[in-house]
C-alpha cells in the first residue's frame, strides 16, 4: 500500500507538478519553433518538463523516505498579515501613507491574540508619523503622505 512517508516532500512534489503542468498548459498557445530558431514557447516548455520531472522524482522519494510532518498552518497571522498588505496598497493611493500606516499597524496587531487596543493605537500613530517623516521627507520618496493622490 502506498503511504506518504514524507508529507513535506509530497507537498513539494505537488507544487512542482502544478507549476510544471501549468507551464505547459498556459504556454500551449506559444510557438515552439525549432532548435535552430527558438520560438517563445521553447524554453518555457523545456523548463516545465524539467520541473515536472523534479516533481515526479521528489514525489517518488516522498513515498519511500521518511520525513517530518507538515505543521498545520495557523490561519490568524497569515490572514491578517495578508489583509494588511493588500489593503495597504489601496490605502496609500486613496488616503495616503500616514493614515494607512495606522490602519496597517492595527490590522497587523490583530494577527496576534493578545491585543491591547490603547497601546496599539499609540504605537500606530507614532510609527506612522515617524515613517512618513523618514520616508517622505528625509528620503524623498514620492509617496502621498497625509492624504491620497488619487
Amino acid at each position: 500500500m502506498l503511504g506518504v512517508k514524507s508529507p513535506r516532500d509530497f507537498g513539494s512534489a505537488l507544487v512542482f507538478l502544478f507549476i510544471g503542468f501549468s507551464g505547459i498548459y498556459f504556454g500551449s498557445d506559444l510557438t515552439y519553433g525549432t532548435a535552430g530558431r527558438m520560438g517563445p514557447g521553447y524554453f518555457p516548455f523545456i523548463l516545465s518538463v524539467l520541473i515536472i520531472a523534479i516533481g515526479v522524482g521528489v514525489g517518488i522519494r516522498s513515498l519511500m523516505v521518511e520525513g517530518p510532518p507538515v505543521e498545520a498552518p495557523k490561519l490568524r497571522p497569515l490572514f491578517f498579515v495578508l489583509m494588511s498588505i493588500i489593503i495597504f496598497g489601496y490605502g496609500v493611493t486613496y488616503i495616503g501613507l500616514a493614515l494607512t500606516g495606522i490602519l496597517l499597524t492595527f490590522l497587523a496587531a490583530f494577527a496576534r491574540r493578545d491585543v491591547n487596543l490603547v497601546e496599539t493605537a499609540i504605537f500606530a500613530v507614532l510609527l506612522s508619523v515617524g515613517t512618513v517623516l523618514v520616508f517622505v521627507y528625509a528620503l524623498g520618496q514620492p509617496l502621498p503622505a497625509w492624504w491620497g493622490d488619487y
Binding site: R8, D9, G11, S12, V15, F16, I19, G23, F26, G27, L30, T31, T34, A35, G36, R37, M38, G39, P40, Y42, F43, P44, L47, S48, L50, I51, I54, G57, V58, R61, V70, E71, P73, K74, L78, V81, L82, S84, I85, I86, F88, G89, Y90, V92, G101, T105, A108, A109, R112, D114, F123, L127, S128, T131, F135, L139, G140, P142, L143, D149
Partner: protein, 493 residues
C-alpha cells in the same frame, strides 16, 4: 584608482553613510536578513544617478550584513545562512555579557577582510575580465548552468528541491513579453505583467513577509529575548590579540571561496569555523564563546561577500541570491553587468569597487559607537517590531511604481512562499533562477542560432566544454555519498 575620486565625493560619501545606517537599521531587525533589507531599501536608490545609487547600495549591503551579524550575536537568529556560524559562539559571548566584544570583533574583522577583498578585486578583476572578453553565447550559457548548479550545492536541505526551485525561478523569469518574438508569455491578459514580474514583490513576499508570519506563529513567550547585560562594550586588548590571526585566516579563506559561484560566503564561514576549531589549542572552548569562533567566520564571510562581486562585475554572473538582487538593481539603473562594463564604463566599475571599500569603512566608523543603540532596538518586544518591519516592507514594494496592484502580487508571493516554507523548499535558489531566466534563454537561443540548431556547440567550444565538465563534476560531488555526509555534518552544526 580614479574610482576613488569618482566615488569619494562628499555627496557619495553621504549616500554611503545613509546607506550604511539604513542597511544596519533594517538588517538588525530580527527576521530581516540582507536579502529583504536590500529589497526594501532598493527603491530609495532609484532616483539617484547610477554611480551614486551603486555607492548607496554598497553601503546598504554592508550595513545589512553587519546588522545580520548583530542579530545573530544578540538574538541567536541568523539573518542568512552564513550568519549561522556566528550564532554559535557569538551568542554565547553575548550571554556572558561580552556581546560588545563580539560585535566589535565582527566589525573589525569584516573591515580588515573588506580591505583585503578590495585589493583582491583590483588584482584579479582585470585579468578575469580579459578572459571574459573571449566568451560567447554558449560559454555564457554553460557558465550560468555551472553557477546555478554550484549554488545548489550550498543550499540547505534537499538538493533536488533546490534545483526544482531554480527551474521555477527560471520559468517565472520568462513571464512577460518575449523580446525576440513580441509574444506575451504567461501574462493572463494582465497588462502589468507585460514587462515581466517585478522581483521586489517576489523577494519581499517570499523572504520578508513569510519570516514575519513564521515568527507570529510562535507564541510570544517562546521567542527569545536578548539578555542585554553588557559588562563591557569594547573588546579587551587580549580579545583583539586572540582574534587577529583568525581574522587573517578567515580573510584569505573567504577571499578565495567567495569567487566561487554559489554561496561563497556560506561555505567560507563554515570552513573558517572548522579551521579555527581544528587549529585551536583548546577546541573545547568553541561553542561556549570563543572569540576565534566569531572573528574567523565573520572575516571570511565579509571577504567572501566582497569577492563574490567579482563574478558579477566581470562575467555578469551572480554567484548567489544577494548578487542576483544587486544585478537586478544594476539592470534597473541601465547597467548590464559583465565584461563590457569594465571597458565601456570604467568609472562605474572602479567607482563601485571604491564604494565597497568606503562602505566597509563607514561600517566600522558608524557602527562601533552605535552598538548600544542597536541593542536597545533589538530588545524591544517583537509586537512592536513586526508591524514596523511589515510597514517598511510594503512601503518598499509600493514605492517602486506607486501601484496598489503590486501589493496583490506581494501578498500572492507571500502565500506561495509560505507554502514553500511549510514544505521545506528554499526560496533563495528561485531568486537566482528568476534573475538569470531571460539571460539564459537569450544565450541559449543565440547559441542555437549560431550552430543552426546543433546542440553540440556547447561541447565544441573549449570554454563552454570546460564549464560543462566542471558542472558535471559538481553534480557528481553532490551525489557522492562521502561528500554528502560532510555537507550534512556541516549543516548539523
Amino acid at each position: 584608482m580614479t574610482g576613488f575620486g569618482a566615488a569619494g565625493t562628499w555627496a557619495n560619501l553621504g549616500f554611503a553613510l545613509v546607506g550604511c545606517l539604513l542597511g544596519t537599521l533594517i538588517g538588525v531587525l530580527p527576521g530581516i536578513g540582507p536579502i529583504p533589507t536590500i529589497a526594501i531599501l532598493l527603491p530609495i536608490t532609484y532616483g539617484l544617478d547610477p554611480l551614486s545609487s551603486l555607492v548607496m547600495l554598497a553601503g546598504i549591503y554592508y550595513g545589512a550584513a553587519y546588522g545580520g551579524s548583530t542579530t545573530s550575536i544578540l538574538v541567536n537568529m541568523p539573518g542568512e545562512a552564513s550568519s549561522i556560524v556566528t550564532c554559535i559562539d557569538g551568542h554565547q559571548m553575548a550571554r556572558q555579557g561580552r556581546a560588545g566584544a563580539a560585535l566589535a570583533v565582527s566589525a573589525i574583522g569584516s573591515f580588515f577582510a573588506g580591505c583585503v577583498g578590495t585589493l583582491f578585486i583590483c588584482a584579479f578583476a582585470p585579468p578575469l575580465a580579459a578572459v571574459a572578453q573571449q566568451f560567447n553565447s554558449p560559454d555564457y550559457f554553460s557558465l550560468m548552468v555551472l553557477g546555478l548548479v554550484t549554488a545548489v550545492v550550498l543550499a540547505h536541505g534537499s538538493v533536488v528541491k533546490a534545483i526544482g526551485m531554480i527551474l521555477v525561478g527560471l520559468l517565472f523569469g520568462l513571464v512577460g513579453t518575449d523580446v525576440n518574438s513580441g509574444a506575451t508569455r504567461y501574462t493572463f491578459g494582465i497588462s502589468v505583467l507585460w514587462d515581466g514580474l517585478d522581483f521586489l514583490p517576489i523577494v519581499i513576499g517570499m523572504f520578508g513577509v513569510v519570516e514575519i508570519i513564521k515568527n507570529l506563529e510562535v507564541p510570544e513567550a517562546e521567542r527569545q529575548h536578548i539578555t542585554a547585560r553588557f559588562r563591557e562594550l569594547w573588546p579587551k586588548p587580549s580579545d583583539l590579540k586572540e582574534a587577529f590571526m583568525p581574522m587573517v585566516r578567515g580573510t584569505f579563506l573567504g577571499s578565495i571561496l567567495g569567487i566561487l559561484p554559489g554561496g561563497g560566503s556560506v561555505l567560507a564561514s563554515f570552513a573558517a569555523y572548522t579551521v579555527e576549531k581544528k587549529i585551536a589549542k583548546d577546541p573545547s572552548r568553541f561553542g561556549k564563546g570563543a572569540i576565534e569562533g566569531v572573528a574567523g567566520p565573520e572575516s571570511a564571510n565579509n571577504s567572501a561577500s566582497q569577492t563574490s562581486f567579482i563574478p558579477l562585475l566581470t562575467l555578469g554572473l551572480p554567484s548567489n541570491a544577494i548578487m542576483a538582487l544587486m544585478m537586478g538593481a544594476m539592470m534597473i539603473q541601465g547597467i548590464q553587468p559583465g565584461s563590457a562594463v569594465m571597458t565601456s564604463r570604467p568609472d562605474l566599475f572602479w567607482g563601485m569597487v571604491a564604494s565597497m571599500w568606503i562602505g566597509n569603512a563607514m561600517l566600522v566608523i558608524i557602527n562601533l559607537p552605535m552598538i548600544g543603540i542597536w541593542v536597545k532596538l533589538l530588545s524591544m518586544p517583537y509586537r512592536f517590531l513586526y508591524p514596523a518591519i511589515l510597514l517598511f516592507c510594503v512601503i518598499g514594494v509600493y514605492s517602486t511604481n506607486n501601484n496598489a496592484v503590486m501589493m496583490l502580487f506581494t501578498a500572492g508571493f507571500s502565500v506561495f512562499g509560505y507554502i514553500l516554507m511549510r514544505f521545506d523548499c528554499e526560496p533563495a535558489p528561485m531568486i537566482l533562477g528568476f534573475i538569470l531566466g531571460p539571460l539564459m534563454e537569450e544565450n541559449l537561443r543565440r547559441s542555437l542560432v549560431l550552430s543552426r540548431g546543433d546542440p553540440m556547440i556547447f561541447i565544441q567550444r573549449p570554454i563552454s566544454a570546460t564549464l560543462l565538465v566542471l558542472t558535471a563534476i559538481v553534480v557528481a560531488l553532490i551525489v557522492l555519498p562521502a561528500f554528502r555526509k560532510t555537507r550534512e555534518e556541516a549543516f548539523v552544526e
